[in-house]
């Protein structure tokens, strides 16, 4: 049916990893690129401990599906969220994992799975795991190339405090590069 022209994305992790913010930034970028976009997220207690979630639906037509049902792209930054959501992905859907926290990677078609120790890279190379979510954005875009990396960077900078501009730029770039590595393999 027609609604399949809408792409569904889910960003997931535990509270504090900033997956909601990264979903907003990605949605900002899609907006900028002229897509129709709907972004939603988990709220309340749900959003604190356990699994936190940001979701995007986008496409060229009017979006009247307001809920992500089977993500075409799933980002999972924690074991829990990975286990919980991997079964929802669409037949061709891809899963992007932080292998630092996800010790048990999902058992799916290898072609659909992209993993890297995102938090570890953030800790080691950027000095703080707070940048993991932005690093993940770069990583996602590196894999999917859904948006222009420049637009994505602008969107990031519009949502973070000025004193962190540099670190975030670096994180975004580093994530993108990490994806490139995978592709080469």
């Amino acid at each position: 049916m027609e609604h399949n022209t809408v792409t569904q994305m889910r960003f997931s992790g535990f509270g504090g990893q900033g997956v909601v913010l990264s979903s907003i930034i990605f949605a900002d970028t899609l907006t900028k690129q002229g897509y129709n976009v709907v972004q939603t997220q988990s709220y309340g207690i749900e959003a604190r401990g356990g699994a936190s979630r940001g979701e995007i639906l986008f496409g060229k037509e009017e979006i009247n599906y307001l809920k992500v049902v089977s993500p075409d792209i799933l980002l999972a930054l924690s074991q829990e969220s990975c286990d919980k959501y991997v079964k929802d992905i669409s037949p061709e859907g891809i899963v992007i994992c932080d292998s630092f926290y996800i010790e048990k990677l999902p058992e799916i078609n290898k072609k659909q799975l992209f993993a890297a120790p995102l938090t570890k890279i953030a800790l080691d190379e950027l000095g703080n795991d707070l940048f993991t979510n932005i690093l993940a954005l770069g990583f996602i875009n590196g894999i999917t190339n859904l948006v222009s990396q420049k637009n994505l960077e602008e969107a990031v900078l519009a949502r973070v405090p000025e004193r962190y501009y540099e670190a975030n730029r670096k994180a975004l770039q580093r994530g993108y590069e990490e994806a490139a590595k995978l592709k080469v393999n």
Partner: protein, 67 residues
Amino acid sequence: MSTAYKVQINRKWCKNCGICLAFCPKNVFSFDEKKKLQIVNEIQCSGCLMCEKRCPDMCMKIIREEE
């Protein structure tokens, strides 16, 4: 006969908040790389119970063991 203490963490409930760690007078705890609470110095424990009583998640238990 000296007194020793066994430090038990109920991992299912512990949220690794670090409150026990921060105020333990004997530095019995530390965090690992993933900010997970570790018992690193059980032997030093004086049984003051500050960790057990302050734990917001009721998951710390200090057991007194006569040796």
